[in-house]
C-alpha cells in the first residue's frame, strides 16, 4: 500500500478516550493506515473513515477544529496546539508510540 507521496503508508496507533472506545466498539487502542507525511489531520481522517460514528466527536463539524475539551498527546508532548497539519514525531509514525486523544480534566 502506498500513500499520496508514493511511500508506504504508516501504521499509526491511536488511543481513544473511554467514551469514544465504547461508541466505536473498539479496545483501548486502534491501528490505522495513514498516508505520509503523518499529521493529526490525516490520522483523524483515517479514524473517521474507519469509524464513521466518531465524526464530529473529536473535530467539530463546520470548522474542522479540535473540540475544546480534547487534547492530543504524543511522545509525552502536548500536540494540541501544534496545528492539525504538523508532522507527528517519528516514534508515532513508526508505531513505537501511540497518538493519545485525551479528554480534558474538566467538570469532574
Amino acid at each position: 500500500m502506498t500513500g499520496n507521496s508514493g511511500s508506504v503508508a504508516a501504521i499509526v496507533r491511536v488511543v481513544l478516550p473511554q467514551h469514544l472506545r465504547t461508541l466505536a466498539g473498539v479496545g483501548a487502542e486502534v491501528e490505522l493506515e495513514v498516508d505520509r507525511p503523518v499529521t493529526v489531520r490525516r490520522v483523524l481522517d483515517a479514524l473517521e473513515a474507519g469509524y464513521p460514528m466518531l465524526g464530529g466527536t473529536i473535530r467539530e463539524y463546520g470548522t474542522g477544529q479540535r473540540r475544546a475539551f480534547l487534547r492530543f498527546f504524543a511522545c509525552e508532548e502536548d500536540w494540541s496546539h501544534e496545528g492539525l497539519d504538523a508532522e507527528l514525531p517519528a516514534a508515532v509514525v513508526e508505531g513505537r508510540e501511540p497518538l493519545l486523544i485525551i479528554g480534558a480534566i474538566a467538570g469532574g
Partner: protein
Amino acid sequence: MSGVRVLVGTKKGAFVLTADGARKDWQVSGPFFAGWEIYHVKGSPVDPNRIYASQSSGWFGQLIQRSDDGGATWAPVGNKFAYDGVPGTHQWYDGTPHPWEFKRVWHLEPSLTDAETVYAGVEDAALFKSTDGGANWEELAGLRGHGTGPHWQPGAGGMCLHTIIQDPANEERMYIAISAAGTFRTDDGGKNWKPINKGLVSNFMPDPTAEVGHCVHHVAMHRDRPDVLFMQKHWDVMRSDNAGDNWHEVSGNLPTDFGFAIDVHAHEPETLYVVPIKSDSEHFVPDGKLRVYRSRTGGNEWEPLTNGLPQENCYVNVLRDAMAVDQLDECGIYFGTSGGQVYASADAGDSWTPIVRDLPAVLSVEVQSFS
C-alpha cells in the same frame, strides 16, 4: 395485554422502565450511553420499536442514537446539524449580537405519520428534520429566517428550541417553542413561520408584550382538540383557544406560577398537570413539598396532588420535558426530578409511587403505551 414503556433521559445516561398495564411492578434497564447527557428519548407513534435518543457531551459533542427494537439495542445515526446558510446573530444575555452556534439537541419529535421522519429542536435555536431515520438532517430554515431571529435571546439554560408539537388533524400545521423567543406556528409544513405570542406578558423584557423574547418553558396539546394549547411560561400558566393566536392566563390559585412541565390528561382535554416551582432563582418546589397540581377545568382552578409524594424537606426541580402521560384507559402520569426520582401515577394523579429513586438527575421522561 396492555403495558407501558417509560423512556428516561438523565444527566448521565438513559433508562428504560417497563411495566404491564397495572403499572405496579417495574423492570429497569440501563444505563444506556452511560456518562453522557441524554436530553431526550422518544418513540415513534407509527412504529413503537423505533426510538430516537439525543446523546451529548461537553467533550464529544452531539450524537443521535436510534433503536429499532424498542430500546434493547441502539446504533448511532447522523449527527451533522449544519445551519442553512450564514447563521447570523441573535441577542446575547446583555442584548449584544452573538453568533448562532450549534450546541446540542434538546428535543426529538418523531412524525405522527412516518417512522423515518423525525424533527429535532436544537440549541442555538433552530428546527431540523430528517426523513431517513436520522441519518441526515436539514434545517427548516424558514423559522430562524422569518425575521425576528436577531431579537431572540438565551434563557438560563441556553437558547434552545425545546418543544415541537404536530397537529394531528392538519399535517401542515406545527408549533414550536424557544427559550427565550416564544412560540411559533407554521401552517405550510415548516416553510413559513409566525410568532404566536399575543397575550404573553414578560416583565424581564423592555416591552413586556413584545412580539418575541418571551421565555416559554413548555407547551402542551390534547390530540382531540389541536386548537387548544396550554403553556407553562417562565412565570404564568397560559391557555389559547385559537391555535396560539391569542393567549390568556389560567394560573388561578397555583401557589406559584413559575415552572417548567405541563401536560394534558390523555382522555380529558380540560384536565391539566403542572409542577409549580418556587421561582426563577430558586429552582425547587415551594415549601419543601413536591406537589403536582391538577386542573379539571382547563386552568384557573387547581388542586394539589400529594398522595405518595414527599411533603417535607424536598427541594427538587422537574424540567420541561420531564413529564408525560400514557394512553391507557386509566390515564397514567409520569415525571422525573433533578434528584433522580421517577414517579408514576396509574390513577390520573390521585396517588403516586416512585418507579426508581436514585437515578442521575432526570432531564426528560416520555412514555409509550401498548394495548
